[in-house]
């Protein structure tokens, strides 16, 4: 029997192939390194990400589908892949010193990060619900393991188990939703779904609605929208901090990538129907995230609730919809990646082996202990709060403008009031850093080269996207042409 090579355009999937190849390479080569040289797995990892990033650059302004229209490579997907690869690069750099410090420097860690990135890339490019599911699973299972990487620590194990159980449950919802859509439409391909819904008279029947709703639940879990957010605080707090940073940036963006594509591409005809629901979810997510963050005393939990709130802001872009909605969501997720990873990097820098120092009181007097670190943290916090001239302000502004454009001024008012609430708990840390004296005995904070590099890159982008956002904004806007 002749075996024919399936018609796959390798060029389109080259970034994914690279990431996957290196992930497997790390798995294979890791046992070969001696204990002192385990760091080479990390080097392989970031080299992989850099190569994939450069290859991805060549895919800009290039559109094509492969795997029989199941896999779409367009500016939208390419932009998201930039976000994922940038996030992974930063996390790998930060993890190197963290893992050495915690003495859990195993090569599988980096392999899993690469696999997770692969899953995210599938989510962004998936043009078929099955591919989206596949990407989600690859990403999530890697994350479940990574969350529990500090296997001697109870918190990490608990976080991993919680994440896994709730994630599996959410995946079930997602699958059920896919099934319903398939039952109604007869295909899982996004293009055929929209054609079917738009074409037929009874296109938006109960099955499609139910399917869309269940899909929303599944995605909602991943992006940590209310009321699917319960896993976030515990998982974020228990996971090793670089993984917390990773989960807050990449997978959230990936979840949004799939959510936006599915809902704005496949279900635009029933948009008036699901807009109201997303409006409510967005308002609840913003409000709940910000209000509960006020009460937190652990910085990882506080940043966890803050990331719930930020998901709410991006959902405002979904409510706004349209080209502006998508490009503003993309811009926001890019800005968010940098400012959040930056903030978490500072959190990592403050820790010691066995003593994470994540209580808010540990930030007292950071201004005198390490002024540079304190100032950088201030920049990240101000960006998260949405103060000009940072990326966070530009991103929020753009997202809110998309909602005002389509008339949802009420939601924007809720959004700005939530921003106000968030100012309080972000500034609280600035107060602790600069306006209090350090607690008890504190040691010098030494920063590894990787950490410094991450801080420089994050700060640069946070400020550049705030003061001269034109280039990245243009890219975000160019990303929607393929969808509309």
């Amino acid at each position: 029997m002749d075996w024919v090579m399936p018609a796959v355009n390798i060029r389109l999937i080259l970034p994914e192939v690279i990431v996957c190849f290196f992930a497997i390479l790390i798995l294979i080569s890791d046992p070969l390194w001696s204990k002192e040289n385990k760091i080479w797995s990390a080097h392989l990892a970031w080299v992989a990400v850099v190569i994939a990033f450069i290859v991805n650059l060549h895919l800009w302004n290039f559109q094509g589908t492969t795997f029989t229209d199941m896999y779409m490579v367009d500016n939208y997907a390419t932009f998201f892949k930039f976000i994922f690869l940038a996030g992974s690069f930063l996390i790998i750099l930060v993890s190197m010193s963290y893992l050495k410090r915690e003495e859990i420097l195993h090569g599988e860690y980096f392999s899993l990060i690469l696999f997770s990135t692969l899953g995210m890339m599938l989510l962004a490019s998936g043009f078929d619900l099955i591919i989206i599911f596949l990407g989600l699973e690859i990403m999530s299972v890697s994350l479940y393991v990574l969350t529990g990487f500090k296997r001697n620590e109870l918190g990490s194990n608990e976080a991993s188990l919680k994440y896994f159980l709730m994630g599996a449950f959410a995946t079930g919802f997602l699958l059920y939703g896919i099934v319903m859509i398939y039952g109604s439409v007869g295909s899982t391909n996004l293009e055929q779904i929209i054609n079917s819904i738009a074409g037929s008279e009874t296109g938006s029947g109960l099955l499609v609605w139910a399917g869309a709703g269940l899909l929303l639940v599944g995605f909602g879990f991943k992006i940590a929208a209310v009321p699917f957010h319960m896993w976030v605080p515990d998982v974020y707090q228990g996971a090793p901090t670089p993984i917390t940073a990773f989960i807050s940036a990449g997978p959230k963006a990936a979840g949004f990538a799939a959510l936006l594509r599915v809902f704005l591409f496949s279900f635009p005809t029933i948009k008036p129907d699901w807009t109201m629901i997303v409006w409510i979810i967005s308002a609840l997510t913003m409000s709940l995230g910000n209000i509960i963050a006020l009460a937190q005393t652990d910085i990882k939990r506080m940043l966890a609730y803050s990331s719930i709130a930020h998901a709410g802001y991006v959902l405002v872009a979904l409510v706004g919809g349209g080209a502006v909605g998508i490009s503003s969501a993309l811009f926001y997720l890019l800005a968010y990646t940098f400012m959040n990873i930056g903030a978490f990097t500072v959190v990592i820098a403050l820790g010691r082996k066995g003593q994470e120092n994540t209580n808010l009181d540990d930030y007292k007097g950071l201004g005198s202990r390490s002024p540079v670190l304190a100032i950088l943290m201030t920049i990240f916090l101000l960006s998260l709060a949405g103060f000009p001239p940072t990326a966070g302000f530009m991103a929020k502004f753009y997202v809110f403008s998309s909602a005002v454009k389509t008339g949802f001024v009420g939601l924007v008012i809720i959004g700005v009031l939530n921003s106000l609430i968030s100012v309080y708990y972000y500034l609280r840390i600035v107060i602790l850093m600069f306006m209090h004296s350090p607690q008890a005995e504190t040691e010098r904070i030494s920063l590894a080269f990787g950490t410094v590099l991450v801080l420089i890159i994050s700060t640069w982008f946070v400020l550049q996207m705030g003061i001269f956002p034109q280039s990245l904004l243009g890219w975000a806007q160019a990303s929607v042409s393929s969808i509309f």
């Binding site: 502004f397 009420g410 921003s419 106000l420 306006m435």
Partner: protein, 519 residues
Amino acid sequence: MQSSILTILTFFPLVGILILLLVNKNKHGSIKIIAFITSLLIAVLSLFIYFRFVPDATGMQFSINKTWIGSLGISYHLGIDGISLFLVLLTTFLTPLAILSSWSAITDKVKGYYISMLFLETGMIGVFVSLDLFLFYVFWELMLIPMYFLIGIWGGPRRIYATVKFVLFTMTGSLLMLVAILVLYFMNHAFSGTYTFNLMEINKLPIPLGAQFWLFFAFALAFAIKVPMFPFHTWLPDAHVEAPTAGSVILAGVLLKMGTYGFLRFCLPLFPNAFIDYTWLFSVLAIIGIVYGAIVSIRQVDIKSLVAFSSVSHLGFVMLGLFALNIQGVEGGIIQMINHGISTGALFLIVGMIYERRHTRLIEDFGGVSKKMPVFAAFFMIVVLSSIGLPGTNGFVGEFTILLGTFKSNVAYAVIGALGIILAAVYMLWMYQRTMFGEITRPENEKLTDLNLREKAVLIPLIVAIFWIGIYPTQFFTRIEPTVKSLIEDARTKYEKNKLLDQSLKADYPQMEKTVLID
């Protein structure tokens, strides 16, 4: 013709900051000198602008308009006219004095302090010269960060409470203003087809009356909190009292004026109908501010908080003038903004000087100080008289003009407002008498030293200004008048035009109504 002088003026403090960053944080002397020289250079530059300013022209001068974020229609548009000219001069004039006064007051974290002051100056000048709504908003918010640090790190015992209150209060208003800016942006697009934040463009937009109401109040809230108008004034006493001396000087001298400036620059041209229809509300609130602020001042036991509440009272006067909406009222309001900046700035500097010596600001801890510090007492007296509004001082010029304008629009308001002058005399003179005159009741006051050269250098320019504006205000009025005249005339014309257009707008541009859909 694009002029880059305003860009230099706005961003020159950043040059100072860059230089300061390179200086070792222990070299306090160099830091202080660099900061002072930077601010002095900016003051000189602004004088240059003053002399090149064409008095008779209406419209913006020294403007520059470049695209900043083209895809969103955001431009980098700066310009200065009769209203903002003197506010910019006030800023560039007060900042070096504030920096000079801090030389002995601030001994801890000196580098960060002067960097914050310079950063603040950039923000302040930026607010007064921006003509693009987005750019204005950026500077407006940007200003909060250094002020937050100034109060929070170098302030008094309750500084953290005060600074958080200050930031949250101000941000509430400004965030709602942001929503209004966005609505204006899309409304303008629905009307003219272009996406722009340029104020000059949006000024041409006829806004439906219903929408004007909401938009006006969103902007007005942000500015009313800043002024501060009753009942949004509660952040002021805390922020002023807890801030370090120079912080209070800048806060009272400049930041408060941004609220009143905002009303003139944005609320009146953009929303003339809502503005004119609701002048009664703001005039009443202004009068309440005048009388309430004055009465509360009488009861204060801390000199600084007395001055803080007197600010509420004085700015009530400014608002009264602005909302009289005639040439005298508005001109008087603008002059009084400058006057208040000078006299209250001087008052805070004076309080700071006495605080540095005795580390208390309670009135009861003083008494008979003039015996030991005659020069200080003389300066203090002049400033007090300016604050009261004695003829010959700047305060009189402003208050008289305001009352003239208010009398023309509503006699009752003017009569009640005049009460404020009497009350100002009460609390100021009584405070002065208790602290400066009489016998020396406390032994600690025996050892007081009079002003040194630096402190005199800080106060003398302010005294000169007090008399200059008080005796020869013409040159100020000639530069303000054309702008104010055209502002009021344009507002009234637009008022009528909008009323006529309102009905047809709904029919011709249905998109505009949509953007204000509140659901």
